[in-house]
Amino acid sequence: MKNICFHFQINQPYRLRTYRFFDINKNHDYFDDFQNSYLTNRLAERCYLPANEMLGKLIKACPEAAFSFSIAGSSLKMFETYCPQVIDSFKELFKTGRVEFTGSTLTHSLASLHNKSAFLEQVRLQETLLKQFFDVKPSSFCNTEIIYSDEMGEWLHEAGYTVVLTEGAKHILGWKNPGYLYCNPFCTELKLLLRNYQLSDDITLRFEDKSWDQYPLTAKKYVDFLNGIDHTAPYLNLYMDYETIGEIHPKESGIFDFFDTLIHLLTASKNYRFILPCEVEKSQEKISTMHAPWPISCSGEEKDTAEWLGNEMQQEAFEQLYKLEPLYLNSTNAEAKKNWLRLQAADHFHFMSTKWLPQSAVKRNFDVYPSPYKAFINFMNVLNDVKIELEK
């Protein structure tokens, strides 16, 4: 019997409008409301609402099915503003009892790559929001882009988490199999559920790839893939952006039918059991440690953080951003504080990436800048204004 864990991530950043240097100290209106509203509604229509509906029906038809989500607080806030029926739809789904909301950062932040306090601030604020929206307190955690390191694991344990979802990165695992449960070497109570990225990417990256030798991917074929992997490994963790269903792969690609059939096949099979991350907490099995001395993520082949902090611009923007942390802590300007948090979104750094001809096809959608330089200049202009506001 294999435990199968489906986890969906949702994040859309507050996109910045074109903010010129002559706006600095004059105008504190940084966000592109039109764009943010348009994209939220587009995603709600194409993905979140129909996908929630499908999962609700699936849970009704196959009560053992279960799904886990991490929804960045900034996305929840955008739903609330632009498309509140999405919140209702998630609440509805949550009522089934077969859905978990894990902890995450508030604004899809990369703070964990900078320092503990900024990171835990994000985590804490997200907990408040989850309490407010769904009345839950998460015990499992899914960081931005499933970034993880030993140190972060310790921080999270301190913050009360017992399970962390991260990447089954080959260069860290070596000969070890991502299909087992692992724990943090310095804090063995913290359990790690590792993503099987090949099988996850088969859906997110390759579902519509006509040059792939397995195209077209049917649910039946996919179950054959799952049956084909090591039987002894007890876990199979599939994490993906929720936008995979309906946006990255539009409805016309057959992605909804694929999921529908897949869940039916898996629940009908005696070989699989759906689990939620929080259920792993109580597992008594003997587990081995996974050592992640430096941060891993789900990015590219390298599974490192170069996508966000790979060039000088990104590093400069990152440093300048977190230099403001003391100002944030001392400021009473709620608006400026909120904006500082929003600027932490990994997407802003992704837009500055100079990995030419980016392979990360999934994340490049909705890029609002014509070049990484414009992304950098725009971000820095906004950051300078936020700084002035925090200093006031």
């Binding site: 000088e312 330089y373 200049i377 725009n378």
Partner: protein
């Protein structure tokens, strides 16, 4: 493989980028074992002939009447030369010359008499006479020289190219370094130049454009079938000389370098300067170059109240350009229409971050440059501000830009050209 190539200028005696491009291209071709006979109206004797053979058209004896009649049979038309034109000058100068000219320059010679024509090789008032006599020399050369293919650079030599093509029956490649639309703008097109450009492009077996930007103009505005128009990006050749960075002033320096003509967008540079100076007094703007708009721009800058921070250097050459690049913190090219644009590459080679207009050919091949629409002065000002205030950006541009331009090699461009030759020769 041997090419008979017609040009108008060759280093060191050049008026624009055409000669430099011809030099780089011929050098690249010889690296790929393509022999080049380079014909130009007038040589000065100090051209680099180490790799190619240069023919001075002024020294070629030809039977003008014979070739004229002969070419006429081949439907090569000769226009009556009583209209005068000079490229690379502004409209004001142009009409000035027109008014001064007399229409008595039509020449003819006795039948059977061989003569030489002393070309000036400059962009002079006699340009059309020179263009046509150049075609007669080309016919003579096509008859006496052995070669496989003909290659003509820019409209001044197209007629020569066509003449050589008609006499020899060899394929003709015309190379478009600029079009009349780049020189004169949409609404001031000179009909004669346009007609000669179009005639050359249509007669050619292949047309090379220095950018996709130019290729598009050729297809759209000249009606040339797109399957015979190829983009052949220019490259650039640098010496090993390291340009010294100096910082003579406490202010940062933002530079414009180029002919001060309408098409180069100098006005947008002033407009941008105004925006930046309003918020940052620690910047100086430098406009290096001369042209028919200079008077206007000087007045405009003065009117705008930024004259204390906006400087004019006049026309610069050689070492002075290097010194200026060495001082510059940003280089801006706001061209309205630029077929290629080599000077941003020179700036990058000197480690200067560049901002270029999207309406330029060079923007197609550069990654480490900020690209803006020429009219978007807000974006241009913001880009300048960004480079001046966010050091990570200028440092990255400085280091990566240098690397990037040094990868642009004429040998690569020439290799592509050789493929086009091969295609035409069915090799």
């Amino acid at each position: 493989m041997k090419v008979l190539m017609f040009g108008w200028e060759f280093p060191p005696h050049i008026a624009g980028g055409l000669g430099t491009a011809c030099y780089g291209l011929t050098k690249g071709l010889t690296q790929h074992n393509v022999e080049v006979i380079f014909v130009m109206p007038k040589t000065f004797g100090d051209e680099d002939q180490s790799r190619i053979k240069i023919i001075n058209a002024s020294e070629v004896e030809f039977d003008a009447r014979y070739w004229k009649e002969h070419l006429f049979e081949h439907q090569v038309s000769f226009i009556e030369i009583n209209s005068q034109l000079v490229p690379y000058i502004g409209l004001d100068d142009y009409y000035h010359i027109i008014n001064q000219l007399k229409s008595d320059v039509f020449q003819s010679a006795e039948s059977g008499q061989k003569l030489r024509y002393q070309f000036s090789g400059r962009y002079s008032e006699n340009l059309l006479v020179e263009v046509q006599n150049y075609a007669l020399v080309a016919a003579e050369l096509a008859h006496t020289q052995t070669f496989d293919i003909i290659h003509a650079h820019d409209w001044l030599t197209y007629k020569a190219g066509i003449a050589a093509q008609q006499i020899s029956g060899k394929p003709l490649v015309v190379h478009v370094h600029a079009t009349e639309f780049d020189r004169s703008g949409e609404h001031n097109i000179n009909d004669i130049v346009y007609a000669m450009e179009r005639e050359g492009m249509l007669a050619a077996d292949a047309v090379c454009a220095v950018s996709d930007f130019t290729r598009h103009i050729i297809i759209e505005k000249y009606g040339v079938p797109e399957e015979k128009v190829f983009t052949l990006h220019n490259a650039v050749e640098f010496g090993n000389k390291e340009i010294k960075r100096t910082r003579p002033l406490k202010e940062k320096i933002v530079t414009f370098l180029g002919r001060v003509t309408f098409q180069k967008g100098p006005e947008y540079f002033v407009e941008t300067a105004k925006k930046v100076l309003k918020y940052d007094n620690n910047v100086r703007f430098v406009m290096a170059g001369d042209g028919d708009q200079i008077q206007h721009i000087i007045e405009y800058a003065a009117e705008s109240g930024i004259a204390d921070k906006f400087h004019f250097t006049g026309f610069l050459q050689g070492d002075d350009i290097e010194t200026l690049f060495g001082m510059s913190d940003v280089y801006v090219m706001p061209s309205i229409s630029e077929p290629f644009g080599i000077s941003p590459l020179e700036a990058m080679s000197a480690g200067v971050p560049v901002i270029i207009s999207k309406q330029s050919g060079v923007s197609e091949i550069l990654q480490y440059a900020i690209k803006v629409d020429f009219w978007d002065v807000d974006a241009m000002a913001d880009a300048i501000w960004g480079i001046l205030h966010y050091p990570a950006l200028s440092e990255m541009f400085s280091a990566c830009g240098k690397q990037e331009v040094h990868q642009l090699q004429w040998a690569n461009t020439a290799a592509r050209l050789k493929e086009i030759y091969k295609q035409l020769l069915h090799l």
